[in-house]
Amino acid sequence: MAGKRWKIDLEESLRIAMSALRANKARGFLTTLGIVIGIVAVILTMTAANGLQSTFRQSFSSVGSDVIYVSRFPWVMRNDFFLYRNRPRLDLRSANALERRLRGSAIVNPTLGGRQDLKFRSETMEGISVVGTTEKQTIVASAQPAVGRFITDFDVTYKKNVCVIGTEVRDALFGTANPLNQQMKVGRFTFRVIGVMEKQGGSFLGGPNFDRQVFIPISTFVKAFGGERSQDVNLAVKAPSQEALADVEFAVIGEMRKIRQLRPSEPDNFSINKLDTLVGTFNNVMGVVLLVGLLITSVSLFVGGVGVMNVMFVSVTERTREIGIRKAIGAKPHSIMFQFLFEAAAIGLVGGLAGIAIASVLTAVINALVMPASVSVGILVIAVVVSIAVGIVAGFVPAWKGARLNPIDALRYE
């Protein structure tokens, strides 16, 4: 019985709230602007965070977490480039030396990289990353050829002109045709395509795009493009397990220092890079995105809330007489309260839905132009809940004020 009564009360409250909203469309809509912006901000922040995270994971899935990279420069440099500028180059000789010293405890894969133009018949691509590597590439990094095979020991030893291409290179040069055993140009030289790597999912915020890259034997790279006299060798060192990574890192530093014949007082003149370095940078980016998003969101939701509160105070004042009438015929404080809370919640919801609509459009634009992004159901639910909650919180004091009115004073109000 009591439950039934509540339901009847709620129905009436909802009915009044809706008719009040309909009567004050323009005012309600303007007030919701803050909420609209807040909801857009919250959705975009979360979408951006999700997008960044998944793009990051995809882009660097091939950078194994049990691998360290030895290179001349650190991956992440700020304004300290001058510290590293005078470091000696990493050459193949020291790469081989490190490999020998670590044999049995870690796998070492040297690579050389450069940019070359590609050409197949009339199709061309300019400035594509060409990586000279060895058969150990597929052990050290997780990406495998999806079609054909990878470079072998034999290809490296005999400096074969063979290449393994990324999916974007395949799409651009060969379209839907089968690229295997086709002859394509890398720079001035002709290479036979022996494999296509599996898709690794684009670039992360302008970082390397592993799908837009060509692998060739490192020996061929040196012969064709000059090699270590003009480029730095990068060394990937794979530990037998993630737990062993710290030990391997320690060993690598030690061995490298011996190879470089560094005295104990001298600092390292090489850099150790690993996924952690990137994760750290990523977390910084993410932190900034979340912080800025949160700031914009809370400021605009606060402004929106204040707006709703204002409108609700006006609404309560305008309907003081109506409150008096309702109380005179038996409305209880909570009925009046519900009536205004519903109205406030509905204003919030209207703002939230508008925000969702705008954010969806913006997300589609981001998806098309910047990075893969989509609004998830979870985010939508959060947006709806947040917008209603802002309305209710903002409407609480005005609703309370209305509910507490003395019937006779309210009736007398002009």
Partner: protein, 243 residues
């Protein structure tokens, strides 16, 4: 002549009884004594007119009786129940179920149509939708507006609006109908129609208390209470009745 038409509080005959009711308003430094000790009993099915000059406390008295306002001192019991001890929720229930208030200015809710206006007391009483419909229609029919249920108050004449207000007052089958100058905003012909309606309600067993400045309106009642400066000046049967 005895001010109280009955001695004591005959349990079944008494609709309400006031003893030494005082209502004082404090406005800034001014103290206004709107009621200065009013005692009166009203029996079931009485038809009472309250008269008196402007500012004599008629509306204040009605508001106290209607539980819209609480007395500063004195006691008020409605059908044997002491009103002073009731909380806000219990007062709301009394206003909802035992009192039907008709105002000079109609006090309908402008955005709601006639049906909904009349339906409101039942909604606040928690009556199920299915039962509401029939009762609302019956009340609207009783005031002769069956063909106007979908109209908004501003589409009706003053007399029709007051009929709606009466329908709203009686839909909850209250013990008492209170009407504070129900014809005050109407011309005399329309006022007569409203009074005919109240007469019918009285004949059907309703207790009615109304405030008026007009003798010909008061003549519909069977008892006239005259207020002056917040106290009862006289309380007598109407001349027509008492002979």
């Amino acid at each position: 002549m005895d001010r109280n038409s009955e001695n004591g509080h005959a349990a079944d005959g008494t609709a309400l009884s006031l003893r030494d009711v005082v209502k004082t308003y404090v406005v800034g430094t001014d103290v206004v004594h709107a009621l200065r000790g009013v005692s009166l009993d009203i029996r079931r099915n009485e038809y009472v007119a309250v008269m008196g000059p402007s500012g004599s406390g008629k509306s204040t008295l009605m508001n106290v009786i209607g539980c819209l306002d609480v007395p500063t001192s004195g006691t008020y019991s409605l059908e044997g129940q002491m009103v002073a001890n009731l909380n806000e929720y219990q007062l709301a229930d009394i206003r909802n179920q035992r009192i039907g208030f008709v105002f000079q200015t109609f006090n309908l809710i402008p955005r709601a149509n006639i049906f909904h206006n009349v339906e409101l007391p039942l909604i606040y009483a928690g009556v199920a939708r299915s039962q509401r419909r029939e009762r609302v229609e019956r009340a609207i029919e009783r005031v002769g507006l069956a063909n106007r249920v979908k109209h908004k108050p501003n589409e009706l004449s003053g007399g029709q609006r007051q009929r709606v207000a009466i329908a709203r007052a009686l839909v909850g089958e209250p013990s008492i109908i209170l009407a504070d100058e129900p014809t005050g905003n109407l011309d005399s012909k329309t006022g007569d129609e409203i009074m005919t309606l109240l007469d019918e309600l009285h004949q059907a067993g309703q207790t009615i208390i109304l405030v008026t400045h007009e003798d010909y309106i008061a003549a519909h009642a069977h008892r006239v209470i005259r207020l002056k400066d917040g106290i009862i000046e006289s309380d007598s049967p109407t001349s027509g009745r008492a002979g």
